[in-house]
């Protein structure tokens, strides 16, 4: 059922924000195709009456009380940052707009 093209792989890489190389596009196109062929059988097993399972535990309503807990200091928050400035994470210029 799948036949994943190089263009589709390029689109996926874009969605996933990975600047893959042309060689990788070729490799991944072949491999994804192969894997998707192998796993497509999942579509043939379960009927409409089978509910999907999203969680492996039968829990519901797990909540936290609305109480402040100690967090990180500004220094600790920024300690691992590639760049910081004025107490903020410094990043290259952002092109896109907020959603």
């Amino acid at each position: 059922m799948s036949n994943i093209s190089r263009d589709e792989v390029a689109h996926l890489a874009k969605l996933a924000r990975m600047a893959v190389t042309p060689e990788e596009l070729d490799t991944f196109a072949g491999q994804l195709d192969q894997i998707l062929d192998a796993v497509a059988e999942v579509g043939e097993v379960a009927g409409d009456d089978i509910p999907p399972t999203s969680h492996a535990v039968p829990l519901t309503n797990v909540f936290r009380t609305d109480e402040v807990r100690p967090g990180l200091s500004q220094d600790a928050a920024l300690a691992g940052a590639p760049a910081a400035e004025e107490g903020r994470f410094r990043v290259p210029r952002i092109l896109g707009e907020q959603q």
Binding site: L12, Q31, Q34, V39, G43, A46, A56, V62, P92
Partner: protein
């Protein structure tokens, strides 16, 4: 080589707590062992000698002051998989993208180990972000199987299991998403347990596939695994999927099992987890193990789990889907690797270039696979269908556990293969997890315990025992009974020693 490294965790704990040896001596002995052999094995990505000795000395001071040990494992050192955060100690997940990152917080498992007085020797090697079955996907080079340094130690937690098999640590922590504790345990002749999902907190476990990931204990004996399991298990309010129920008495179950009586225990052999694709020596080892269980008094029946055959496919949709989302946070903005920040690239470009640079091939493959499976138009056919298969597999388990107390199968279909043998064939690599994946999908508990060596290649084979959710104690009872009856698996580590 110091004798101390040959002892089990239970034995070490007794010697430390009775004052026969100090925790510092035990920790130092293992640090020495690491220094001696890890150049060959490469089980560790980072050794924290000072941190481990500091914890050990604190335990010693406590004992010297006449206080009771803070836990049954106080002073017994451990190797921690590098996927669990450790405050101020590097945590890389085997990925270049986290090289040099010092987490500002401890995982709950890490915290519990510290509170239990367990010295953490260091962080163990793993397939990048726990994706793999051979540890060859580590950005820092593979771990070698101590049984044969040319062979894989399993994955993703190859470092943890190899550290046990090489006597570098008496205890280790792994994480298991599709078999990453059990498969390495099987191929290194050690014990590994994937607890019931929700039994051990995932807080601070860097997520691969959130609905499948579970941290668990690794040891050289069933009792050692049980003791460690009790230290790390229990409800954690920081993990919404953590089960708020008492942890069963696991060490007691192991001790009871070790008495060798399985009368009244019903064992189911899963028909679907054998046959084509399984190595002859693995199947013969498994049959011998089943015969041994019968001799111990267990009633053995064959059960059918008809949807297990679809587990691998469901897994290779669910896990990549979740990972494509979980790994989105590695974007070069707040922590970790950043490349191409030279003023000429936008934030978006830096993200893409960094992710390209920072992730290995298997991670990229799975991220793209998951991105595809979640895309609009494909969701129902792939991710949605896989979640339905998950329901069917859970029902298979439920039906089987109506008939039997535990299920058994080989842990892996084959013995450890050579490094590099399957690295270019993702599908062949994925088949390693065919027996272990069903328990992850359903969330129940499973163990791998050594079942000897394959008669055709002399390499380790594991017996997988599976129990219902929250019945982890059954694994320990059956596993310990079998372990006691089987006797020790031939220890080949002498050869590694001779090679030094």
């Amino acid at each position: 080589m110091s004798d101390l490294t040959r002892l089990t965790a239970a034995e070490l704990a007794e010697k430390i707590h009775t004052g026969e040896v100090t925790a510092a001596e035990v920790t130092q002995a293992h640090l020495d062992r690491i220094a001696a052999v890890d150049g060959d094995v490469h089980a560790f990505l980072h050794v924290d000698a000072e941190g481990a000795l500091e914890t050990a000395r604190a335990v010693d001071a406590d004992l010297a002051a006449g206080r009771a040990p803070v836990s049954p494992l106080a002073g017994v050192p451990l190797a921690l998989k590098d996927v669990l955060t450790t405050r101020g100690v590097p945590t890389t997940c085997g990925s270049k993208t986290l090289e040099g990152w010092l987490p500002p917080y401890d995982a709950t498992v890490t915290r519990r180990l510290r509170e239990a007085g367990v010295p953490v020797l260091g962080k163990t090697n793993m397939d990048e972000f726990a994706m793999g079955s051979s540890t060859e996907n580590s950005a820092y080079g593979p771990t070698h199987n101590p049984w044969d340094l040319d062979r894989i130690p399993g994955g993703s937690g190859g470092g943890s299991s190899a550290s046990l098999a090489a006597y570098e640590a008496p205890l280790a922590i792994g994480t298991d998403t599709g078999g990453s504790i059990r498969q390495p345990a099987a191929v290194t002749a050690t014990v590994g347990v994937k607890p019931t999902y929700g039994g051990v907190s995932r807080y601070g476990l860097v997520a691969f596939s959130s609905s499948l990931d579970q941290a668990g204990p690794c040891g050289r004996t069933v009792l050692d695994a049980a003791l460690l399991h009790e230290v790390i298990a229990g409800h954690d309010p920081m993990d919404a999927t953590s089960i708020d129920a008492p942890v069963p008495a696991l060490a007691d179950a192991a001790r009871e099992g070790a008495r060798g009586d399985l009368n009244g225990v019903k064992v189911g052999v899963v028909r679907e987890l054998s046959g084509d694709g399984y190595q002859g020596g693995v199947l013969r080892s498994f049959d011998a193990a089943v015969a041994q269980l019968k001799e111990l008094g267990a009633e053995v029946v064959e059960v059918s789990c008809p949807h297990f055959g679809y587990a691998l496919s469901a897994y290779y949709l669910i896990a990549p889907s979740e990972c494509s989302s979980n790994l989105a946070r590695f974007d070069a903005m707040r922590y970790g690797l950043r490349v191409a920040d030279d003023g000429s690239h936008s934030a978006e470009e830096v993200m893409s270039l960094t992710r390209e640079e920072g992730f290995g091939a298997e991670v990229k493959r799975r991220v793209m696979l998951g991105t595809y499976a979640l895309s609009s138009g494909y969701y129902d056919a792939y991710y949605g269908s896989a979640q339905k298969v998950r329901t069917l597999i859970t029902r298979d388990f439920a039906a089987a556990f109506e008939q039997v107390d535990v299920l058994v199968s080989p842990t892996t279909p084959v013995t450890p293969f050579k490094l590099g043998e399957k690295v270019d064939d993702p599908l062949a690599m994925y088949l390693n997890d065919i027996c272990s994946i069903p328990a992850n999908l359903a969330g129940n508990a499973a163990m791998s315990v050594p079942s000897g060596l394959s008669d055709e290649d002399g390499l380790p084979v594991g017996l997988q025992i599976m129990a219902p959710a929250l019945a982890d104690d059954r694994l320990y009872r059956v596993g310990a009974a079998y372990e006691a009856a089987r006797g020790p698996v031939l220890d080949k580590l002498g050869e590694l020693e001779a090679a030094k």
